[in-house]
């Protein structure tokens, strides 16, 4: 036939008769042959062209969980906004919250269950059915349990979608080997140190809106944005609060500060001890509070008595005068001061002691239960549902690695990441052969990528459940696609009005879908469904606590005399009268018997951290306002907002090194590990010479993240030396040191 055959001519050719006969056989089964269309008489635009407001969204672009409404036009989510009824974030959301729309419609999102028919790390994906995927997961996981015991499975969860499956693996399957990045690579140390001191996890419960002084250690609000949290901070500043920012870098907060303490990184505890010692020695602490509520104060004051202003000045590279100034400022305004507990605190491997120092300083100033102090809002009660029965708790307890080794007595819930990884790689004290990642990307969250990969490679089976093709998905044998936070029922978010001194109110919001999941081009499922199906296939179906996400939500709401229907009627948020949160007194363990018995320093103690080798500077990292670490890495809007993470270098150092602002550079660390991508240099007087800074969450290596791949430098890949906090077993990630590389030439950093 001629090359210039036309469609018309083609249709007239005689030989097509054969094809016409065979045509009906091309759609063999009716189910697959049905058209995706339904007939519907056309109605003039108007009714469906209007944008509707759908209530019940709760953001999950970060953990802060602002309440949202969705603007939905004809089934498509066009825009996210703060729910105007919210007494927390109000009508505002941040750039990342806005970017949720792009997550929903990201063409790289996972769509179907997939089986890796290639290799771990170099996958070849084949789409499979849910039945096949779940059968395989269940069979393989069960085989691990049968052969090695429940502790043969390790699970790395993250985010609210992982709560339900985590309960299943921990309580019903019975494995202690659960490593939550939010604990071991983030805030676990803080929580445990405050529990050991004040008997409560602190969250971010400082009443900044009503404080006279706000004290931040590494906190960089403005770059680190959580809507109502920032509202409190800004209100405080507006009302004239003095701001003290302790940071080696001139951060967004430092730019607003009354006092910027340009501290040498890793020495913060020495700084805090000197402040406390000064307050004790000069009698400027809150005697009434300490006498009434302090425990072991004498041992404490003796224990910190060597921490003079001069001692700390030398260690911290900060003038003694400035330390004194800060101490006096705090004392003069006590008790109405916000000593911020921080959030991401896994820095140097001596972090428990720093966090305990913050808690003790809070107690010393009596800044508890008072305006501006450490105060938690009193949220409403809601019901509980979806908890799995603890049928295997004893087994888990007996096989917890840190308990077996009698280490890390102050570990947050779960098992320290390193112990799981070491056990998996060495096979000692027992084998770990099944791996489940659910919403966590341990390739980027956990330092020591090589070891993580070794752990994964020796597994009998690796299952990953996620929304996006993050780095960890490349190691999955079976990969399961989840619904996003905009498409499912999920958690309940209770809370209070953002300004604790405002009209006392409480709210209850539930995460409810803003858009439907029903679509022909994907088969995503929600975590309750996936976990239940897995449980059934593993022969554990009898323990299933709720059948659907919706049922879970209904049950929790019922505990507050609410229902989904009612909540929708109330525009997605139920508001009721609240309770005055002030006046609650907490005991302060200045000396901790518990710590003493476990063999740890019982009064806050400064432990020096390794110094940068000659020619290197310490690598520190932080948040960027438009990103939540690697969760937003592939988000087009957010990537356009800040496509790379500039690397900060002191201007005088840069001059000596012959580097200019805007140069393209790479980094190499103390172990000779080079960044696999490059970034742009930011030359500034706003950073110490011994410190290099960049935002975390860039430079993903997974090419399936078509937007984010290779953009900026992945700080995690340079964190090869791991510090482990002795009390908690959590990671310290800031004991790594870097040099610059430009055009292939390694450049030392002058001291």
């Amino acid at each position: 036939m001629a090359l210039n055959l036309t469609r018309r001519k083609f249709l007239q050719t005689a030989s097509l008769a054969a094809a016409t006969a065979a045509m009906s056989g091309c759609f063999a089964r009716q189910a697959n042959a049905s058209t995706p269309f339904v007939k519907k008489p056309f109605t003039a635009p108007g009714s469906f062209a209007d944008t509707k407001t759908v209530v019940g969204g709760v953001c999950e672009m970060c953990f802060w969980r602002c309440q949202l409404v969705g603007k939905v036009r004809d089934g498509k989510l066009v825009k996210l906004e703060g729910n105007p009824k919210s007494i927390d974030n109000g009508a505002s959301i941040c750039a990342r919250g806005n970017g949720g729309v792009k997550l929903l419609y990201d063409p790289d999102r996972l769509k179907f269950p997939m089986k890796n028919v290639g290799k771990r790390g170099a996958p070849q994906w084949k789409r499979i059915s849910w039945d096949e995927a779940l059968d395989e997961c269940a069979t393989k996981l069960k085989a691990v349990v049968d052969k090695h015991g429940p502790h043969g499975i390790a699970m790395f969860p993250h985010g609210s979608s992982a709560t339900y499956p985590m309960g299943f693996f921990e309580n019903v399957v019975g494995t202690p080997n659960i490593s939550e990045a939010s604990f071991f690579q983030c805030r676990g140390i803080r929580d445990m140190a405050y529990v050991a001191t004040l008997d409560t996890a602190p969250d971010e419960n400082v009443d900044m809106a009503n404080a006279k002084v706000i004290f931040l250690l590494g906190g960089h609000f403005g770059e680190n944005v959580h809507v109502s949290h920032v509202k409190r901070y800004l209100k405080g500043l507006e009302n004239g609060a003095k701001l003290v920012v302790v940071d080696p870098r001139f951060s967004a907060s430092a730019a607003k500060a009354h006092t910027w303490v340009k501290i040498k990184p890793g020495t913060d505890t020495a700084f805090l001890l000197a402040i406390m010692n000064h307050l004790v020695k000069t009698g400027k602490y809150n005697k009434a509070y300490v006498e009434a509520n302090g425990e072991g104060f004498d041992k404490f004051s003796k224990g910190i008595s060597l921490a003079t202003l001069d001692w700390a000045a030398k260690i911290c590279d900060v003038p003694a005068k400035q330390i004194k100034e800060v101490a006096e400022l705090l004392a003069a305004n006590a008790p109405n001061v916000s000593i911020h507990p921080g959030r991401h605190v896994s820095w140097n491997g001596n972090d428990f002691q720093r966090e305990r120092s913050l808690a003790c300083l809070t107690g010393l100033l009596g800044a508890i239960g008072v305006k501006g102090g450490f105060v938690a809002g009193k949220g409403p009660k809601v019901g509980k549902a979806g908890g799995w029965p603890k049928i295997n708790e004893e087994h888990a307890e007996a096989h917890a690695l840190h308990k077996m080794a009698k280490k890390y007595q102050f570990s947050p819930p779960g098992t320290p990441t390193d112990m799981i990884r070491d056990a998996a790689v060495s096979g000692k004290p027992y084998a770990i052969k099944g791996f489940v990642a659910w919403g966590q990307n341990p390739i980027q969250t956990v330092p020591g990528e090589d070891l993580t990969i070794k752990m994964l490679q020796q597994m009998d089976f690796v299952m990953v459940c996620d929304i996006m093709p993050t780095d960890i998905t490349m190691y999955a044998d079976i990969l399961l696609p989840e619904s996003s936070y905009l498409e499912r029922y999920d958690m309940i978010k209770p809370g209070t009005q953002w300004d604790l001194s405002g009209k006392q109110e409480q709210y209850i919001a539930a995460r409810m879908p803003l858009v439907s999941m029903t679509a022909a081009d994907h088969e995503r499922k929600d975590p309750v469904w996936i976990t239940n199906e897995l449980a059934k296939r593993m022969g554990l179906g009898q323990h299933i606590p709720v059948k659907t996400q919706e049922e879970k939500t209904e049950k929790m709401l019922a505990g507050a005399n609410l229902s989904i229907e009612q909540l929708v009627k109330e525009d997605g948020i139920h508001v009721q009268p609240g309770v005055d949160p002030y006046g609650k007194v907490l005991k302060v363990k200045f000396f901790s018997q518990e710590l003493a018995e476990a063999g740890f320093p019982a009064v806050p103690t400064y432990l020096p951290v390794p110094e940068p080798p000659k020619g290197f500077a310490r690598l520190v990292y932080g948040r960027a306002p438009v990103h939540t670490f690697n969760r937003s890495q592939n988000n087009v809007w957010l990537v356009n907002e800040m496509p790379e993470n500039p690397v900060w270098l002191n201007d005088e150092s840069a001059k000596k090194m012959g580097l200019k602002d805007g140069d393209r550079i790479e980094l190499v660390n103390q172990d000779g590990v080079k960044s696999q991508t490059s970034s742009v240099l930011k030359v500034t007087p706003g950073i110490r010479k011994d410190t290099i800074y960049m935002a975390h969450g860039y430079g993903t290596k997974n090419p399936a993240m078509t937007v984010g791949v290779g953009k900026g430098i992945d700080d995690q890949s340079l964190i090869t030396k791991l510090a482990v906090d002795p009390e908690t077993g959590a990671h310290g990630m800031r004991n790594n040191f870097v040099k610059f590389v430009k055009n292939g030439k390694v450049l030392s950093i002058p001291a």
Binding site: L5, R8, T35, P36, P41, K111, T518, A704
Partner: protein, 188 residues
Amino acid sequence: MSQTTSISMAEIYRFLAQSMRYPSPDWMQADYFSVLDTFIAELGWDTETQALGQSLFESDDWLEPLQVEHTRLFVNAIPTVIAPPYGSVYLSADGMLYGPSAEKTKQFYREQGFDLAGEADIPDHISFELDFLALLAEEGKSDEEERFLSLHFRPWFPKFQARILQEGRHPFYGVLVNLIDFFTREEM
């Protein structure tokens, strides 16, 4: 176009729409291949026939490579999803699903008395567009068919086709997009 050819076009569109769905023994049987074979033979695409024959018919294990290729091209893949089969990925500045062009496509469906079955269906999926063309052809609406092709299909299809021709690792999808191109391109 005469009445009879329109009916045939409906079948062809439907055949093409089906061809872009996930390869499965449910529909990928002898009948399917015989139609495909007839088409490419008729078009005189000898090289293609040969390549297809080698990868599909001379091996018992022909299905899995096809599934892997489909997943890599259209679903999720390493090193990258080659060619998401949605119009707005190629038409909107940010390369996202359900861009403004997709909404307009949906509007076109509506105006012709059709709606998508799934509430969250992305309107401009290639199979949907081809299925829709089948419906128009079936109803003998050849003007609308041409209008849809020129307004909503041709603006993106060549970009999609180019990616597959450049990055495909299995001859099947190259042949298929060329087939789709043949049946949808503008005729002088």
